[in-house]
Symmetry: C2
Subunit: 218 residues, 2 copies
DNA sequence: CGTCGTAAGCTTACGTCGTAAGCAAGAGTG
DNA sequence: CACTCTTGCTTACGACGTAAGCTTACGACG
């Protein structure tokens, strides 16, 4: 008979669920599979976890807790820029996470803390409550949206130009002249395609700075 | 015995699927349910549709086709603003759509047409290929991200202040001082909360305009 | 030492899902 | 009439989440 194993607990279940999701996406994350991974039957998990939704909420908050909190001592703009970049990086490390993060209400402790720090940074930089609220909502809408689009994008960055070349004629014949031309530009290496996140991040941050200045010195 | 019905076809299947999703979200959209709606067994649908993924791709493209194409005769900025607003409105009409739209690769004809028109407007306004590509990607990341966040948001607009009031003490006790204060501001009606999409839209459009001007007159 | 409550895990079972495989019944067409 | 083709139906399989109840082991207490 097998040596008795250490008893399960909620933390270990969530940890295993996170690893399972990382290794094979949300599809692989089933209660039966998760049980097998922990050497336990599926139904035994329900001793430590209310149901599957609780597992999902749990691992999302684990992911969010990986994002660096913005440092309120730093210049607000670079703090916010880094906030966006690291969020993007973390979410890219866990490609299964963004769809979950965005399609279900998330109010885990890590998420609340993350938002709270952000508001602190913005308030410290002289933003009004109204503008600070707009600011982080705009930033996050963009960052999450950008990350999700990027993950969905069918082509890896490396093959971008190559794939573009292969598809150019298809688009041209189909009555999409501008896309065809853009694709050609990418294929010829005249424009890198695959815009990185700093473009949009800086665009938004510059805009926010101008609005804050207009607000404080009317 | 029932009078013989008109034979099915792909269009009718997709139309029924769209109605089903609109009436009860993605959960209600199962092959069996869809069949029942059309007076047919589930397996019969596979004569007109490759599999369920094809149904999902199909109804997403139907939704995208509802979005107004930007008019290239109009001023680029208001054309793009309206583009974002109508996209937001259409996606809000079909709340099940954004998660699907963003979590699967979509290259249906309506989507391609939509992007092609957009590129046309931007090019007509003097944007370089590089900047035009950045521009629409930034816009769409924001619009989709914003819409998805809004749909996920637990509180309807009307009750916003009321709900904020109910939660304020909870946040204050939990070590989230800035969120608590922001919530209080909303509760007291000093800040509307619930930012609408035009804030971010105008922020991005103004930024893009500046970049284009810097590009054309160096 | 025996008893017994409690916690942890197991077993079985139900209803649902997408869909593979093959069958049946009609509509043209020669 | 026989034929193919189209359309839809039937049955079945292997997932899934989870409700309900059962077993087993261990610690507290008499």
């Amino acid at each position: 008979m097998p040596t008795s194993r250490a008893p399960l607990n909620t933390r270990r279940v969530l940890q295993a669920a996170l690893e399972l999701a990382d290794s094979g996406g949300t599809d692989k994350l089933t209660m039966r599979h998760l049980g097998r991974e922990l050497g336990v039957e599926a139904m035994s998990l329900y001793r430590h976890v209310a149901n599957k939704d609780a597992v999902l909420d749990g691992i999302i908050d684990l992911v969010v807790s990986e994002i660096d909190l913005p440092d309120s001592r730093e210049d607000w703009k670079s703090a916010m820029r880094r906030r966006g970049e690291t969020a993007h990086r973390v979410l890219t490390r866990h490609p299964w996470a963004p769809p979950l993060l965005m399609s279900r209400t998330n109010t885990g402790p890590a998420m609340l803390r993350y938002i709270d720090y952000t508001l602190g940074v913005l308030r410290g930089a002289g933003f009004s409550w109204r503008l600070a609220d707009h600011a982080w909502n705009t930033m996050d809408s963009f960052v999450y949206g950008y990350t999700l689009r990027r993950l969905t994008f069918p082509v890896a960055q490396a093959d971008y130009a190559e794939t573009a070349a292969a598809h150019a004629h298809l688009l041209a014949g189909g009555g999409f002249p501008h896309m065809a031309e853009l694709t050609r530009q990418v294929a010829e290496g005249r424009h890198p395609g695959d815009p990185d996140i700093t473009f949009g991040l800086d665009l938004i941050l510059d805009g926010l700075e101008r609005l804050r200045d207009a607000e404080t010195r009317p």
